[in-house]
């Protein structure tokens, strides 16, 4: 599988008066063409910050400190001249170049039931705006036709194009946002909690539609959620984040069936399974650490049921698993064997 996006050692910190918040700390992962990556973890673990870093939409006081985000088609947005000397690292792009990435190559969908659409503009216009920015040469009628088409694709009646966001239901708004993301055939779509605020039936409909569209366009997707059941439905790969770090990465099946990291194990146990046998739900004791002042060693060790001495003093590196990696000292021994 062709790697479309590769993130290496990404560090995004927020500088506050009481110290730097290490929102994303040394995160690395890859996203292949047509792959759907789920990014899971508790609230505040750095999922959204990771994705906003990819979009380079980190506002003050946040800052991308280190790392690289290599995007396969980055050169497409560069000026024709000195392409050869430049890398694919989108962190090195100029602001203008980055704007050509956004919406065009990498699109992001925010939680649609909330306020992700501007209340004072018609949804059709809001969708068309993407085309206006990135393909201003296209005639307006054609643009509008494409808006109508994409709305049909996501399952919204074309007559609703002239409606305002408040006239749509939550599910329709979410579909409209998907349409907005898809209209310019991006390579990658990042969806941040796309169905969280929707009720379960609508959730299922939207997810189904999303999956179909992903398949249809062979999209690469990053799906941020704290809801593992959502991930189970659409993702192929799963990355688990905890306190700014990526603690486990692997194929969905592997991570679900044989979770390596104690946190992943607890996370999966904490979710009810609709199909499996009825089990007692467990919650993970303790709280997410203060990222301004994270604990020494492994971030998870204060809550970890399998904590060892080394966890308290040294940060675990990534150890390879069957089809990914895990950042936990438990697996050091295995590697030495």
């Amino acid at each position: 599988m062709m790697v479309l996006l590769e993130i290496n050692n990404l560090k995004t910190y927020f500088h506050t008066r009481s110290g730097s918040v290490k929102a994303v700390d040394d995160v690395s992962f890859k996203l292949g063409k047509g792959e759907v990556l789920g990014l899971a973890g508790e609230s505040g673990c750095g999922k959204t910050t990771t994705c906003l870093s990819i979009m380079r939409m980190i506002d003050n006081p946040g800052e991308i400190l280190e790392g690289e985000i290599l995007y396969e088609n980055a050169k497409e947005v560069m000026g024709s001249s000195d392409n050869t000397e430049r890398t694919n690292n989108i962190l090195d792009l100029t602001d203008a170049e980055m704007r050509r990435i956004r919406g065009n190559h990498i699109a992001m969908i925010f939680q649609g039931a909330m306020n992700a659409m501007n209340p004072v503009h018609r949804i059709g216009d809001q969708i068309m705006e993407v085309l206006k920015i990135h393909e201003p040469e296209v005639p307006k009628e054609e643009m509008w036709q494409r808006v109508i088409d994409i709305l049909e694709v996501v399952g919204i009646d074309s007559s609703r194009a002239r409606d305002y966001p408040h006239q749509l239901s939550g599910g329709q708004k979410q579909r409209a946002l998907i349409a907005m993301a898809l209209i310019n055939n991006p390579d990658i779509v990042i969806a941040d909690e796309p169905v969280t605020a929707l009720d379960v039936i609508v959730q299922a409909q939207v997810l189904k539609a999303t999956k179909e569209l992903q398949k249809k366009f062979n999209l690469s997707m990053i799906m941020i959620t704290h809801d593992l059941s959502v991930i189970a439905e659409v993702c192929e790969t799963l990355a688990i984040m905890y306190a700014g770090k990526m603690v486990e990465y692997g194929k969905l099946r592997t991570v679900f069936k044989e979770p390596s990291h104690p946190y992943t194990q607890l996370l999966i146990e904490a979710f009810p399974s609709i199909v499996g046998p009825l089990k007692e739900l467990k919650d993970i004791g303790g709280d997410v650490p203060d990222l301004r002042n994270p604990p020494l060693g492994c971030n998870f060790h204060p809550r970890c049921p399998k904590v060892m001495d080394i966890c308290r003093t040294e940060e675990p590196p990534s150890f390879a698993t069957k089809d990914g990696f895990v950042a936990c000292w438990l697996y050091e021994v295995k590697k030495e064997k």
Binding site: N115, V120, Y164, Q167
Partner: protein, 330 residues
Amino acid sequence: MGLKSYIAKKVLFAAIAYFVAVTIVFFLYHILPGNPANVFALDPRVPPAVREQLLIRWGLNEPLWKQYFIFLGNLLQGDLGYSFLHKKPVAEVIGVSLPWTLLLLGTSFVLNAVIGILLGAFVAWRRGSKLDTGFVLTYNVYNALPLFFVGMLFIALFGFYARDNDWPIWFPIYGAQTPGASETGFFPYLGDILWHLFLPLMVLTISGVLGWSWFMRGNLINVLTEDYIKTAKAKGLNENQVLYKHAFRNAVLPVITSIGMSIGGLIGGAVLIETVFSYPGTGRMLYDALMRRDYPLVQGAFIIIAGITLLGLLFAEIVYGFVDPRIRTE
């Protein structure tokens, strides 16, 4: 519901509100101790025969409800009554002062709205910068000073001190024009009027601009944290496009509402400023009429002011309907 029916509804509500306001004004001035019949009854200089004659002439001998209907009927014909003091129709008396007030308030209003909104957007976009800090400081300091005090300060500084110390420019501290300036030709006369307008306008406008930009700044800062701003950025829009196409219009919505609401306050401020600068406006005239118990004039002035205020509110609501689709498509 479309825009048309929205506007129709608002116009109807405004008309009802106006009717209620006019009714309250009428009864207020017929019930209060300074009521017109009392004024004659209390004034020992008016001989009883004259008093009787006047009461009949002004219709004050009729029962209150009858007076009310006569008043309403006259009002429909545009007759606001007759000023005892000025010995002229109320409309004529107000007609002399209203243009000055409209000049002062209208200019100030437009400047407040335009500069206030733009300045607010400007500092909000640069939140945390030195400019923004300076703005916040200025707003809080100026806001702590009473308008009256600022007026007197301006008079002392730009009217007196400047002239006493031969500054290159100084401003008149009273009146709306130099006596005889109207005979100097159109442009010199206009210049004279603007010269006289400057100080009162500045006092009103500085406070207005600061207040409105403060409000706008807060709105825009809030709006900039909304998800649709992130959506817009994620589309690839640049900062200006985000600001003007997405943030600005949403931030301006509450400002429009407050524009309508602020008209009443503006008139209140005008009474003060017109008095401080001896400006010949309706506010000062109303104050004088109140003090002198010229009840038809007071009533007429309130009817006009209520009308202007309601028109302002209606205008704001209609604009709001245009700007915010959520209102007109409910």
